[in-house]
Symmetry: C2
Subunit: 418 residues, 2 copies
């Protein structure tokens, strides 16, 4: 645990040393470490759930979306160790080399994946992030420094304690997973400026955190930015499927980044679709903010959208709805208002779907599937450190592979440059 009496710098040096030990460990040793961590989390579950209940009790002023992110129910509690085991069962991201064609001088060339080193993550209320990020960094031979939101501090501390006891049990250095408990904003600024000590910072959060990153980042950063996610229902859509996908994308867990925020409906099917979907969503308490054309087709209870709604990540049971004329208008809307996070199309026409998948510039584009599936687990990647909305290094869920770099390995027989 990061003790305020130890300087951040000392702590990061210790994390680097631990990271090197994790990198040098065999894949088998890392996987045994992950199993020990999963067991330790399961053993500590009562303690973790109690800490979470305390966090929830202390956080009475949180918005419903943030409360939902903070809360560990039984299912989410069990999911902590499950996520660690899911990461463990992934293929080793550091395994093997990929051969490239020989160079013109006859040298043999290959790429080999190497860990990044020390990865820092700054996140808000969700305590499961602690377990998932620790698992992914261990799997990929890195050390992690976690700086969670103060609302979840008891939960995070309990989970981190369990993880570190698992590491000890597996004879791995516990400094490979370090939680910063100091809630001061300065710790984030210090992490962002720790050039040479931190290899990557992953900030997960809203505009406030991103402004801090803009102002202070001196180390490489991959932003997990806002998710203004779109579903476009094409005129060729299966309407029952469109209703189910829009409903799921909006209401399954509205407080998370891959939830639907704006529904775009192709004009020829708007009436038909809204006649069914409108009542379904209103019955679930979703506030509908519609453009004039959609508003006219919706039952009473919907309200007019205002301009800012197209650029808002509601993270709540609020949905913006707009009628557009065909694929090109939908693409234009998404280009203007999307945040490169997630966009889905519901269509039976393969030509329209192909264009959508090609032309939408988002980390994950889906055809006939819910935006909620842009998630490390659902994509078979084990878990994720975050969802990158910038294209550099990673675009979309950051799994163990995205926590590595590729170096070139050259084998020659004395070749020189001519």
């Amino acid at each position: 645990m990061y003790d305020a009496s130890v300087s951040l710098k000392e702590m990061l040096h210790e994390a680097r040393r631990a990271g090197r030990a994790i990198a040098k460990a065999t894949p088998g040793a890392r996987d045994r470490g992950l199993e020990a961590v999963a067991q330790a989390i399961d053993a500590a579950l009562p303690e973790i759930m109690a800490a979470n209940a305390e966090d929830l009790a202390a956080a009475s002023d949180l918005s419903p979306a943030l409360r939902d992110r903070l809360k560990l129910d039984d299912k989410r509690g069990r999911a902590l160790a499950e996520a660690v085991r899911a990461v463990r069962s992934q293929p080793d991201p550091l395994a093997g080399e990929v051969a490239l064609p020989d160079g013109p001088s006859g040298i043999h060339i290959a790429r080999r994946r190497v860990p990044l080193g020390v990865i820092a993550i700054v996140f808000e209320a969700r305590p499961n992030v602690t377990a998932e990020c620790a698992a992914l960094t261990l799997k990929s031979g890195n050390a992690v420094v976690l700086r969670g939101g103060k609302e979840a501090r008891r939960s995070n501390a309990a989970i981190a304690r369990a993880i570190r006891s698992g590491l000890r049990a597996a004879s791995l250095p516990e400094a490979a997973v370090t939680l910063i408990e100091d809630p001061a904003r300065e710790t984030v600024v210090d992490l962002l400026g720790a050039s040479g000590l931190v290899d990557l910072v992953i900030p997960r959060g809203g505009p406030g955190l991103m402004a801090l990153v803009d102002a202070h980042a001196r180390v490489p950063v991959i932003r997990h930015g806002q998710g203004i996610c779109h579903v476009f229902v094409d005129r060729s859509a299966d309407l029952a499927m469109a209703v189910e996908i829009a409903d799921n994308a909006k209401t399954h867990r509205p407080g998370v980044c891959n939830a639907l925020e704006t529904l775009l409906i192709d004009r020829p099917r708007a009436k038909e679709l809204l006649a069914v979907l409108g009542p379904v969503l209103l019955a679930k308490g979703v506030e509908l903010r519609a453009d004039p054309e959609a508003l006219a087709l919706l039952p009473p209870g919907a309200r007019p959208a205002v301009e800012g709604d197209w650029d808002t990540e509601f993270l709540a049971l609020v949905l913006a709805i707009r009628v557009v004329n065909g694929l090109d208008a939908a693409l234009e809307h998404i280009e203007a208002h999307g945040t490169h996070h997630t966009a889905a199309i519901v269509a039976t026409d393969p030509g329209v779907a192909r264009r959508f998948l090609e032309e939408v510039d988002a980390s994950c584009v889906l055809w006939n599937a819910s935006t909620r599936l842009n998630d490390g687990g659902e994509l078979g990647l084990g878990a994720e450190m975050g969802i990158s909305t910038s294209k550099l290094h990673a675009y979309g869920p950051m799994s163990a592979r995205e926590l590595t770099a590729e170096k070139l390995v050259v084998r020659g027989t004395g070749q020189v440059r001519r």
Copy 2:
């Protein structure tokens, strides 16, 4: 060409539009564009060489290393179009999709490479960078904004004019390759701050440029930092090969980033190696700066190294030499003084070589080959935008592949999140 009467912002908007057109063009159209560019460069070669002669005449106060970087001789002149054709003949980095295993819900998942958008490069004296970077960005579906050093401004302008005439001839938008001719430092600051308009800045240069990047970068950056490159001659080395590799790595082109700066010699072979290598290098005018042990083994003419020499990128006919005791001492020296650029080992012992290739944290590690081979062309990658010394996104030569990102493409049959 970037005309000072047009604002940088307008220019970048134009580059974005051009980039989208290049991205939407077929791979065949991009390759035909590259051929047209190569032909236009060849046709303009007399003009380009004359511009370079003017640049050289005006730059009488440059250091020999910078003069060498600036100079286009006949071979380097011909290499301009050759590099464009080498990039053209590379496989399409945007081709195809890589299928991943289906997700647990049954969705089909694939990764597809997409261009980054607008890439800006800030570089110093080498005019060939203009042609190579234009070729790589076109090949990968991007637009490029070039901001070269003022010493090379006539050469760069002549090359950029040729490239743009080639693009016009191939009916591609010439704004896809834009040279900023304004030599003011502010243009670099503006590029670094052009959030949302520039997707990546690649700064190539020394500590002054990197400090500017530290202070002003608000867009993603991949640094082409200093190359303090090492060769370690292990006790198991073939000495004739060691002499040839050290000589080539130091003297073939001392002003470039993959040239050797520090030679480490395993103690048991130091006397034997230096007896041959010392006279060879001294005869070529190389200044030898040796630690006491190596100094005692070198002929007169060598001088004592000072502490700072181990941390200096000489970019000149200067070589630091140190005797070390075995692989571990060599690894320790490289970890303390290397810049994650290039390191080579000369050895016949495969166990020692394997450990070196695994444990040295550098973008390119070589066994029995010259550090000068860490180069896009020599590695069969066509050319390079720079050599990344940070691990994020790219580590080592940035070829066309490194100018793309991977998005996830999901195809479902109505799957939602349960």
